[in-house]
Amino acid sequence: MQVNEIKEFRPKIVAFCCNWCSYAGADLAGTNRLNYPSDVKIIRVPCSCRVNPMFILRAFQRGADGVIICGCHPGDCHYTSGNYYARRRMTLLFSMLDYLGIEKERTRVEWVSAAEGAKFAATMNDFVETITKLGENKRLEDLRCKE
């Protein structure tokens, strides 16, 4: 029997990226071979406005330690207005999570254009670092979903 096995904490991070800007920015980060931790897994959505607060809560429930939403810069949305709606929804949701005492750093919105591969990588590095410092998500997790 093993006791006191100290495992290095590896955060689970879900990144929602809009198809037109941020997902392309993530691709560009890859094309330019810019490293960021493998803890970040990207889910492609057509637009940041497709991200339902339920998805974010679902991710936390299933054990995510951080959720980041990336979209086109305000004014550059492929659908003209999607990211403006996303901005309002996420602002209110994040404010509510903070109000409930859930660490506000666990959620983030970042605008990344298709040309900003470097920004994408830098953002992910920074986000992973923040979440690693915060440690495991305990305040918004579903114990039944833990192994």
């Binding site: 689970k12 879900v14 198809n19 997902y23 392309a24 993530a26 691709d27 560009l28 980060a29 890859g30 094309t31 071979r33 810019l34 490293n35 960021y36 493998s38 897994k41 990207i42 889910i43 492609r44 959505v45 057509p46 637009c47 406005c49 497709r50 991200v51 339902n52 607060p53 339920m54 998805f55 679902r58 991710a59 299933r62 054990g63 995510a64 004014g75 492929h78 659908y79 003209t80 207005s81 999607g82 709606y85 929804r89 990588a121 979903c145």
Partner: protein, 663 residues
């Protein structure tokens, strides 16, 4: 349960060097539903694609997952591959293990681990994929251009030249728009009429163009490729097909006291009139507000003298229904009302005029036959003050917050022409900034100052007051010499801000096309799709989209025409099948989705439902027009009940991906 095939690509060494591809295909082969998993050097090659096709047939695959490069690269390729093997192309999911895995990680163990998770997420998603079929809709090969100014004229000519039918709807009795009122055009000083009127004639004679003059759009239904438009053809009391445009009636009509809108009310016309000599169509129109026959039943002179027998006092408004594949908005602009700018005494002195009025005063066909004369006493003015930015760049609420863009140049033109024709005239131009980007624009402005001796003064006019001697006292600041100037002027010309025509707002509502807070139409993308409205099938031409000069308007008009031609050249439109869909059993009818849809793709209908208790209930439910929806998904989150979902990116699909990643 789906039967899923997994295909892991090496991409040569691009993936295989950092991801253990066989470990990935091995791990994924144990996922539920996976019946086949393999890896290959180049999946996108013909041999690779054949592997996929063979596996689809051999294992009867219902879904496939390709672990390869970004879907932005080869999603379309693999969809075609699937379709070729008889699998619905939307049963393909790509796990991006190159750009988002092998290329960013150095350690093989972590990269392989991540590739497996990305593969699992794609498998989880494809489990919930459903075959999607893109809807097809036919395209009506006819375009509608709303507005017959230079923007509408150019767009119509370009579309018609490509062989498509075009209708122009113009609310006034003639096409030509604002450009027909101009005298000269900057920076080349061509005569506006000389370059515009031939184009108007081209329009009239073009066999593919039909002009609905003195008409307005009454209602718009339908969507891209299939608009149904109702046009109200207002009664002009003259049979257009019979009238020869001889103009006899316009000379004999006894009602002589009608303000002439073509000359901005600075002279009079008759109750029956042709706006100007080169009007198209050249037919007379009776102004029902002034015609004595129509008002009192007495007169009827025009009918008596018309040799063609074109007068018809019994004419009624006519409603015309027509179908169009595309609609171009070219509703243009107007100078703003100056009610909020009393300091310039526009309403108190006839010698304070707007630039458009000045344009008419200097025009040979204008009220003074081209002589520069003061409206008040008909004398030649010796000192003229031009004031720039009247109502433009104004955030106080009195004017418009934007720069009207054309004023710097036309003021330079007016100042220059005045000095050229009347060298004894002192001309002052008060400016905040002189903005002259454009080919040969700055040279033009500098010529006005350097060669023609126009006094350009950096500062603003604070007050214009009529004096007892008939002059105008102009009080202004000169910011460079830091003094306040008092000029006794004979005339003051206000470079009045321009605003979109008032008809644009209700039109935008009919078209479900979006507008900004200034009532300019918004474009589908400010940089990449500047001549299209976000609403599919609606295109923008000219100043309805933002302030523009003539060369810019004409180039935008041509661009809009090219877009229309591209649309009308298609026989059918294939819609993106990844569109929103409303579950009407769950829809509340609350209109939240309708409000956030940038394309006006959602409408509401009252529908009968059979309830479990065998009664029939009428409920208001959302209906998505699949031809118009672009699939952004804004509505899916706005919907409180979750009735609205997005095909291809459904709630359950995205959640399945989340689950797989967080496992």
């Amino acid at each position: 349960m789906q039967k899923i095939g997994v295909f892991v690509c090496w991409c040569g060494s691009n993936i295989a060097a950092t991801v253990d591809v066989s470990a990935v295909s091995e791990a994924l082969s144990h996922e539920p539903g996976v019946v086949y998993a393999t890896n290959y050097q180049y999946m996108c090659s013909e041999a690779g694609q054949n592997t996929i096709k063979d596996a689809i047939k051999k294992y009867g695959l219902t879904g496939i997952v390709i672990c390869s490069c970004s879907p932005r690269m080869h999603e379309a390729t693999f969809r075609k591959t699937a379709a070729a093997a008889g699998l619905n192309p939307y049963m393909v999911e790509i796990a991006n293990i190159r750009e988002q895995c092998s290329w960013i990680h150095k350690d093989m163990a972590t990269a392989t681990e991540k590739a497996i998770i990305l593969g699992k997420a794609a498998i989880a998603k494809v489990h919930l994929n459903a075959p999607l079929t893109a809807s097809q809709s036919p395209v009506v090969k006819r375009a509608l251009v709303i507005g017959g100014g230079i923007a509408g004229i150019q767009t119509a000519l370009d579309i018609a030249d490509a062989g498509f039918e075009v209708d122009i709807v113009e609310k006034s009795p003639t096409i030509g728009g604002k450009m027909s009122q101009l005298d000269k055009t900057f920076p080349t000083l061509d005569c506006a009429a000389c370059i515009l009127t031939p184009k108007m004639v081209d329009v009239a004679q073009h066999e593919k163009i039909k002009i609905y003059s003195y008409s307005e759009v009454e209602a718009v239904k339908g969507f891209v490729g299939n608009f149904e438009v109702t046009i109200r053809k207002k009664a002009r009391y003259v049979n257009e097909n019979v009238c020869t445009g001889c103009g006899l009636c316009t000379e004999k009509c006894p009602q002589k006291n009608v303000p002439n809108e073509f000359n901005l009310g600075m002279d009079k016309r008759r109750a029956i009139y042709i706006p100007f000599a080169q009007a198209v169509p050249k037919v007379a129109t009776i102004d029902a507000n002034y015609c004595m026959k129509l008002k009192t039943g007495k007169c009827g002179l025009c009918e008596k003298i018309c040799t063609a027998g074109a007068i018809d006092y019994s004419q009624k408004d006519q409603l015309i229904e027509q179908k169009y594949g595309a609609i171009v908005v070219a509703t243009g602009f107007n100078p703003i009302k100056l009610d909020n700018f009393e300091e310039y005494s526009y309403s108190q002195s006839p010698d304070v005029v707007t630039s458009l009025e000045f344009e008419r005063i200097t025009n040979a066909a204008g009220p003074t036959s081209g002589q520069l004369l003061r409206p008040s006493d008909g004398k030649h003015p010796h000192t003229i003050v031009f004031v720039q930015c009247v109502g433009s760049r104004d955030t106080s609420g009195c004017g418009k917050p934007y720069c009207s863009k054309i004023c710097c140049m036309y003021t330079a033109k007016h100042a220059m022409l005045t000095r050229e024709k009347y060298p004894d005239t002192d001309v002052y131009v008060f400016y905040i900034d002189v903005r002259t980007p454009g080919k040969n624009f700055d040279e033009f402005y500098r010529r006005a100052a350097e060669e023609y001796g126009v006094h350009y003064i950096k500062g603003m006019v604070g007050k214009v007051a009529p004096k007892a001697d008939g002059k105008l006292m102009v009080q202004a600041s000169d910011l460079i010499s830091n003094e306040q100037l008092h000029i006794d002027a004979d005339m003051v010309v206000l470079a009045t801000a321009i605003e979109p025509d008032k008809s644009a707002r209700p039109l935008a509502t009919m078209l479900t096309a979006s507008m900004d807070t200034n009532d300019f139409f918004t474009e589908a993308h400010p940089k990449l799709r500047p001549v299209e409205s976000p609403t599919a099938g609606i295109f923008l031409s000219g100043t309805c989209q933002g302030p523009k000069d003539i060369p810019e308007t004409v180039s935008q008009a041509g661009a809009a025409a090219a877009k229309v031609i591209g649309l009308l050249a298609k026989d059918t439109l294939t819609a993106n099948p990844c569109v929103a869909h409303s579950d009407e059993m769950m829809c509340n009818g609350c209109s939240s989705c309708e409000k956030v849809c940038p394309y006006g793709a959602i409408t509401y209908v009252d529908k009968e439902f059979r309830m479990p208790d065998r009664t029939v209930a009428i409920r208001r439910v959302a209906v998505v027009n699949e031809a118009v929806c672009q699939g952004c998904g804004a509505c899916t989150v706005a919907c409180p009940s979750g009735a609205m979902d997005l095909k291809g990116f459904s709630n359950s699909q995205i959640m399945a991906e989340v689950d797989a990643i967080c496992k």
